[in-house]
Amino acid sequence: MSIKDLVESSPGVAVTRARRLVAPPRWDTAVAVLGLLVVLALGATTDNFFTVANLRTIVTSASIVGIAALGATVILVVGGMVSMATAAAASLAAIVFVGTLDSSFAVAVVTTFAVVGGLYALLGWLIGAWAVNPIIVTIAAASLVQGLVLVTTDGALVTTSSSSLDVLNRRVGTIPVSVFAFGVLAVTLHLSLTSTRWGRRIFLVGENREAARVAGLRLGRVVASAFLVAGILTAIAGMFLGAITTNASLEVGGNLTFDAVAAALVGGASVAGGRGSALRTLAGALAVATVSDLLLLRGFDSGAQICVKGLVVLLAVVIVHLRSGEGRRA
């Protein structure tokens, strides 16, 4: 289709698409390509980086963080900023899952989804209906969860004698099931966000809360539904973590809060809301895992890895902000 055809078929959309066709490559694309080239160059000069085993390690480590990052993406898109409770919620999920697994696998999954999804839905409702500050309310929720877990478990490890835990540790060929779960969940979430009424509502609320209110959307319900989905995704990540460690405690979540947000932000989601994509978050999770792996192979300790991750997030935040071309304030 020529540019003229595009313009004549549908003026508004077509002009934008036509401009994209004739425009030179954007600087943010150039930065992304440059980053990729740097990683490839460093990878080529790092022993054991370009091996099948290492690439499998990268994909595996990206998968569990990535599942939580998909939840972070939904929260970012709906304008809920970030959940500071991701690690605590994943730990809670692992504890509930492992703790109830002796009943049956199905009961454990449903209970875990109900507990963590319910908690997240409540947080989402507070944020949507009352515009409670998401950062503060999720920090409070993380602290509450920690207190609750300490009281109920007395700080002890939660274990199970059930062999059902192995279901989540299985491999298809040499690939762990968590990788397939990540792929399926990313595609499902992408389709839900782009092709359903629910997805359009999530984007509308995130893009312009007041417009969504005027349009008659019930903000409490919409944001609660987004948080419910995020809670279930976080619960799945927590269940995988519980399965890997074969027991559960408050420490299971580790740095998941910031790892998940890092993957979503590197994937181009905006803290201002209304922008984000499940498939780009998939790419973001892979990018963050690749950088961490590269640093590990080059002998940097976990502190250096986390530090670089923070700087990468800062760079991504600045790039996404500049690309959006808008100042937030007067």
């Binding site: 009352w130 409070a140 602290s143 803290v271 250096a304 991750k309 902000h321 937030r328 304030r329």
Partner: protein, 328 residues
């Protein structure tokens, strides 16, 4: 505004402080625990590091921003103070303060110049600092060999105070005077209330924001230095509980998440109130998890009370229930 807001900014924290102080002094009589002057001394020892951290958060809250990185700057400063303080504590403190200042300055420039939300910027900084602190400490708790410093900074002064408390008080006094005697405080609240109007009325918004984040970084570093010197150790792992305490203290001290509110004296009162509240649990030998519950619930309650749309929901509910008096 200002008389009503001044009253709210100072009176509410004063009431909160009075209630918690009374609870602190009365609760041992109910539980049968013993209250000594050392219990009060401990309250002020905690205030020595919590007050600068709460002020750090409060100053950015006044401007309508939220500086999450204070929870990362304080542990980094604690580690640096010990790493560089082998020969002289002044060198360690200067290194920590310098790093805090620079981090705050960079964040302030990013937030003001790029007009970018402070939450993702300070969160990214927090992540980077968490890693940087682990790196700098070798992923272990550091102990400070110069025990003379710890002995001096925790030496009782007038029974319940210490040099550490007095340093924190002097810092708060200096910030309070600077905000009260210059346009800094007024401009910060103006920027937090309505940034567009503040800019239109001649307030140098960018400079105010850079100053807020730079001060925040320096105060958070002071908090880390005072804590590490008083305990002669530095824990590189940030604790969410510390952040919860500082946020609750700032909000109890009259700052709001919407910005445009708060005074140094109120924030200081909020920090002292939280120290009293925390001490109630230790004096009465209550479970630590209970205090975590309490502070998380308080934070949730304060955040909900501060929510912009809560008032709208309540008024809609009220107007739906109150009959209008029109003829049926």
């Amino acid at each position: 505004m200002n008389r009503l807001h001044l009253r709210q900014d100072v009176t509410i924290p004063a009431v909160v402080l009075a209630v918690t102080a009374v609870a602190f002094f009365v609760s041992p009589a109910i539980s049968g625990a013993t209250l000594t002057s050392f219990s009060v001394f401990n309250v002020f020892q905690q205030l020595a590091w919590l007050a600068p951290l709460t002020l750090a958060l409060g100053i950015t809250l006044m401007c309508g921003e939220f500086d999450l990185s204070v929870a990362g700057i304080a542990p980094l400063a604690a580690v640096l103070a010990i790493r560089f303080g082998d020969e002289s504590p002044y060198v360690g403190a200067a290194a920590a303060l310098g790093v805090g200042l620079v981090i705050g300055l960079v964040q302030g420039v990013l937030v003001s110049r790029l007009q970018i939300s402070s939450v993702p910027v300070t969160m990214a900084t927090y992540i980077a600092l968490t890693g940087g602190t682990l790196w700098a400490s070798g992923n272990q708790i550091l102990s400070y060999d110069n025990s003379d410093v710890a002995l001096w900074i925790t030496k009782p002064v007038m029974t319940v105070l210490s040099p550490g408390t007095l340093i924190a008080g002097a810092l708060a006094l200096a910030i309070g005077l600077a905000m009260g005697l210059t346009t800094w405080g007024r401009d910060s609240r103006a920027v937090g209330s309505d940034r567009r109007a503040a800019r239109a009325s001649g307030v140098r918004v960018d400079a105010v924001l850079v100053l807020a984040f730079t001060s925040s970084g320096a105060l958070a570093a002071c908090s880390g230095v005072l804590l590490s010197f008083s305990t002669a150790s530095a824990n590189p792992n940030p604790d969410i509980k510390t952040l919860v305490l500082a946020v609750v203290a700032a909000l109890a001290g009259g700052a709001t998440l919407k910005g445009g509110r708060g005074r140094v004296v109120g924030i200081l009162a909020g920090a002292l109130a939280i120290c009293f509240l925390q001490a109630i649990f230790s004096v009465n030998a209550l479970e630590d998890s209970l205090s975590q519950f309490l502070f998380a619930t308080l934070l949730l309650a304060v955040a909900a009370a501060d929510a912009p749309d809560l008032a709208r929901s309540v008024s809609r509910l009220t107007s739906a229930r109150i009959p209008t008096g029109e003829p049926s």
